[in-house]
Amino acid sequence: MSGPNNGVMVVLEATAGRLSDVSLELISLGKDVANSLGGPLVGVLIGASDVALTAVGCDIVDCYVDFGTIGYSSEMAVTALSARVEAIRPRLLLAPTGTLGLDLCSALSVAFDATLASYVVGLSVDAGRIQATSQLYGGKLLADCDLGDGFAIACVVPGSAVALQLGVGDVEVSNHSLDAIVGSLAIEPGIRHEPEASGVDIVAAELLVSVGRGIGASANLEVVQELADALGVPMSASRPVIDQGWLPKPHQVGKSGKKVKPKVYLSFGISGAPEHLEGMRQSEVIIACNTDPNAPIFKVAHYGTTLDLFDLVPELVELVEG
């Protein structure tokens, strides 16, 4: 086994026939680090190979196309990535915070005794040492940490970098097979279930009225529902509201729900956990109403108010109804 070279490896995902947004962010982040270290940027693509060419920042892209057809297995992902790390010996591995990243990073860090940082929102290189900034305690604190001079892994929070523009570049693509791995897995590739179709399409809406735990009781939902009805738009919600059963699952915005980019995202009682922000931060305008002036949502919102929703919403309804 040789020591790590100066390469940076990024884990890429393909969804809906294109590289995911977070993959493009990782490439952009990885490219900066690779430039500082003076090493190559290697992409490992989980899924279709025809999108590999769009990973323009990468020098090489190793493709595991079969993931797209035979289904997802955490064990398969770990085995495949271990093989690529073993072969390339990068200095830094970047993976997205999400199921794939959570499945991969801890296991690889143990297997290769790599220094792992989670919830990373920024990376830098200082005198050959890699430094990361992590977002902890639900976004309440940030930690700058030193990842040392050996093999390091960073599990990156989506939205931490500006995504690289999609394009077609000069990328060296090589395909790898999972055949050798599939037979001996304890966790077999899974069967994919798409979210249940429902009458509401919060993704397509240009305006969303969204509610969070802070509304207090489901009765208060009626107040906001009245506004949504007046505006003629669907209601969406953060995870706690869905978990309480106040709104059905298809209304959920966030990491485990839907990712939305409406023109205006009008939120009530949402504090802004990182998992929720991930699902809505790309909205064109975010307006947040939360009685807690320290709520993290005010950090991503464009407009904010700490008024009580009981005071505010009826006024809004009046304006909307003219």
Partner: protein, 260 residues
């Protein structure tokens, strides 16, 4: 069906967290520590599995502030065994160190499943499930929302994001990071916890000198800059509502029907 649930304490996020004088950790002295909410989901799923298939539930974790409360509550909810690993654990325990101690204990147990919370809010150093799995040499999966068991096999559901889920057939044993249980964690009355406190015992198992490898070194811990990007709308409800309405109109998402 023997299930081990790895649980831990975490600073209560309702608290205002302050950074201590070293500048690299939170001030742990006055903060209330509570059970990690995802661990509670893992425990709930374990109890549901026990109710469905029989077997035992062992709860284990590292000696931490008020961890006994978590263990007593777990016993009161129906766990069979509560184990506290004691040793040289201070302050912010890296996930790798935690995983090493837990793996050392779990390795000696007869188990079919190890469940733990998918994450914790101070997981600077990765999540437990993957680390324990790798240390034990047992397959693992994260963001699990459903588990069912048939003989020596399990069906596990993982969330892949965006509402997409993946259901895999898997051979036991497994280490799983639980995102949510099939039902919300049950309520256990304080009187039952107090009864458990009086009657049940917590096994204390000393852990010594488990090496755990490389972890990041925290240089600085700090609150993100307070100045958010949001323009705060001040004034009476009527004025704020009007300002919001203007934005909606400007973006073309409201007001179009006003002429009707």
């Amino acid at each position: 069906m023997n299930i081990i649930v790895a649980m831990r304490q975490l600073a209560d996020l309702v608290e205002e967290l302050e950074v201590d004088s070293s500048g690299t950790d939170i001030d742990r002295e006055f903060v209330k520590f509570v059970s990690n909410e995802w661990d509670e989901a893992a425990l709930e799923e374990a109890l549901c599995l026990k109710e469905a298939y029989g077997g035992t539930v062992t709860v284990v974790g590292i000696e931490e502030v008020d961890f006994h409360q978590t263990l007593h509550a777990a016993l009161a909810k129906g766990a069979d065994r509560a184990v506290e690993l004691t040793g040289d654990f201070e302050g912010w325990i890296p996930t790798r160190q935690r995983a090493a101690a837990l793996a050392w204990f779990i390795r000696e147990c007869d188990f079919d499943l190890v469940l733990t919370g998918v994450q914790a809010a101070d997981d600077l150093n990765g999540q437990l499930a993957g680390a324990i799995g790798a240390m034990l040499g047992v397959a693992h999966a994260s963001v699990v929302t459903n588990i069912s068991v048939e003989g020596s096999e399990a069906h596990i559901t993982q969330e892949l994001g965006g509402g997409v889920t993946s259901v895999s057939r898997a051979r036991l044993p497994l280490v799983l990071g639980v995102q949510s249980a099939r039902q919300a964690p049950r309520y256990v009355p304080i009187s039952r916890i107090r009864q458990v406190m009086a009657e049940a015992t917590i096994e204390k198992v000393p852990v010594t000198g488990e090496s755990f490898g490389n972890t990041p070194q925290v240089l600085r811990l700090y609150a993100p800059e307070a100045s958010g990007t949001a323009t705060m709308l001040e004034g009476k409800p009527k004025e704020v509502a009007s300002a919001i309405y203007d934005v909606l109109v400007a973006k073309g998402v409201a007001g179009s029907r006003k002429g009707n």
